[in-house]
Symmetry: C2
Subunit: 396 residues, 2 copies
Amino acid sequence: MRYADRITFLEDRSLLEAFSLPKDDSLISFAAGFPSPDSYPMEEIEEAFMKTIKEAGPAAFSYATTQGLDSLREEILKRMKGKLKVSFSMEEIIITSGSQQGVDMSGMLFVNKDDIILFETPSYLGAVNALRTYEAKLIGIPTDKDGIIIDELKKSLVEYGDLVKMIYVIPDYQNPTGRSWSCERRKDFINAIKDYDIPVIEDGAYSEIAFDTEPLRPLVSYDEKGQVIYVGTFSKIFSPGLRVAWLCAREDIMEKYLVLKNASDLASATITQYQMDYYLKHFDMDKHIEKITTLYRHRRNVMADAIDKFFPEEAKYLLPKGGLFIWVELPPEKDTRELLKRALAKNIAFIPGSAFYPSNRKYNEMRLNFSNLEDEDIISGIEILGEVTKKYLEEG
Amino acid sequence: MRYADRITFLEDRSLLEAFSLPKDDSLISFAAGFPSPDSYPMEEIEEAFMKTIKEAGPAAFSYATTQGLDSLREEILKRMKGKLKVSFSMEEIIITSGSQQGVDMSGMLFVNKDDIILFETPSYLGAVNALRTYEAKLIGIPTDKDGIIIDELKKSLVEYGDLVKMIYVIPDYQNPTGRSWSCERRKDFINAIKDYDIPVIEDGAYSEIAFDTEPLRPLVSYDEKGQVIYVGTFSKIFSPGLRVAWLCAREDIMEKYLVLKNASDLASATITQYQMDYYLKHFDMDKHIEKITTLYRHRRNVMADAIDKFFPEEAKYLLPKGGLFIWVELPPEKDTRELLKRALAKNIAFIPGSAFYPSNRKYNEMRLNFSNLEDEDIISGIEILGEVTKKYLEEG
């Protein structure tokens, strides 16, 4: 078959397979990127489905509007205002099938072949994969512990000029590093971009999984021009399988997103939107989030303690203040793809850090998920991985 | 904002708005393209949700695999084998969020800027809109009462040569005309394309909504090369709001679709897949389809009788043998966009036929949906529309 040129930009399936659920029960996988299924409020979800099927009836199984359910959009806007201090109107929010779809549509909306997209590095693999299909050049901007490095960003904005068509960032407890941008850095970022006609996709997937503080104010709350487009999701704080997420953008931009959403799948599933709306109206989402952040904070601590105990000293990490991941760095000459092979032989999986770089890959890092494993699996898995790592580093 | 070039190819929102649910209760809308909400088997759907939430537990709310639920894919393959006489393997089927997503991904997979996509005309507006975003040239091939006209197809294949990258067709009770391709025409079509390296997207959305016969054998059943890609859906035969649909393709092609599906939304919603699987296993889908085809056959008859009674003689239609629509043709100099304005003033809506043409639009046709209205609304709506049409035609 003769495929479109964009297909040559796609990663091969091996990465996709790394995310597949392990079929071997003895595998301890730190590769996952999802919340713990134990955390889903099953009884409340069941009630929400039951009640909403009875109350909404056939409407819950007909096409939703392309924008998504009015009542759900209102609930989300209320939450955003309360938690994130951002106000959007009902014309500025659309329901998407996962925030992944919001990111994908953004590529569709803004990016031509040979344009440039800027990412903080490392970045979310799913966004990199989605945006790669638009045949753009993906450029990574280095980060430090406080977020994207503003001088590096400015340098790229000057160097690439009008070719830069989009910036994609995850300022809160990002995937894969778990780091969060400081408040100062957020303001500096908005100052650095405000004179450019470039949309910023702010991915807030992890913003409410905050261990030590209230969620930080998102970039979009500092944006006076309406150039930041915010994507949010219930995947990490509630259930990823519902695929209920949202995207907020200035009204003139939203009009275009609506046409694209309609073209790509007409509308998101209806019953899952009703269920989510019912849940938000009748149950306490904040209490649920408190429950899961308590659980994940504990699992982060268990993993950090185990790393301190079992990993060689040369392996470095920063304790993340939220999110689902610990990011471990080995000495620069080491390659975690090689380490993964050895780990898999001992039934341990993780994602090598190089997978998360849109450009200028580094090979000496790895992403370890802590949200999705019981304490004993975290400890025994990290013990084995620590030993494998030690042995690998000792080879010099 | 600087948008991608493809955005200039998009239709404006007016068409999208034509599909919005009427907010005015007094409007009688023949514009819809969906099944009757009264037809959903609500009690069985409710049971399927309840049971599956209990049985599957948290798995029903975690990420599904990108391919979709194994058990559901097996059920669909079994149905396809029984009803349509086509066999695909488990590696050749993927669950999509509506067949719309399958069509959209096909554009992504096969079409470069300035390539050519062939459509039978008129064709499904959603497919035209989705494929338009890939910046291709859309060429319509004329049809007659037996389907796409093979000589016209051959002429275009020769004329455009390697530029033709995809053919999109709806051989069964198609949207918008309700016509079905004859068996002979299906075989001739496969013969005409088999020496070209061009994928055919066969949209089977209406194949089981057959009023007088068993579903016809799809194109894909005559295809020995694996160049036909089949999209199917539960939207028209069960519930559109679940967004559960599927796409079948040869394994080497499917590998690419998987990467694209992963990039576009990771996976379809999980609980709706479980629910559909439960329904197929525990209830009688064939009986349900018999129920709705009986209902729609009746409504088709009511509409046809009303047209015969109230429309002027110059308005022509063919009685459709399945599907959801009657396609009415006025004298060639007439414009149904003008007619729509007058109809809306009398609280009657429909979709002007010109909306369904990818190229070389004709303006003298209209699509009337009969599946979604009660008898009395069909009759009184057609009476009013008939009067408006008479008056419009009399103006000469």
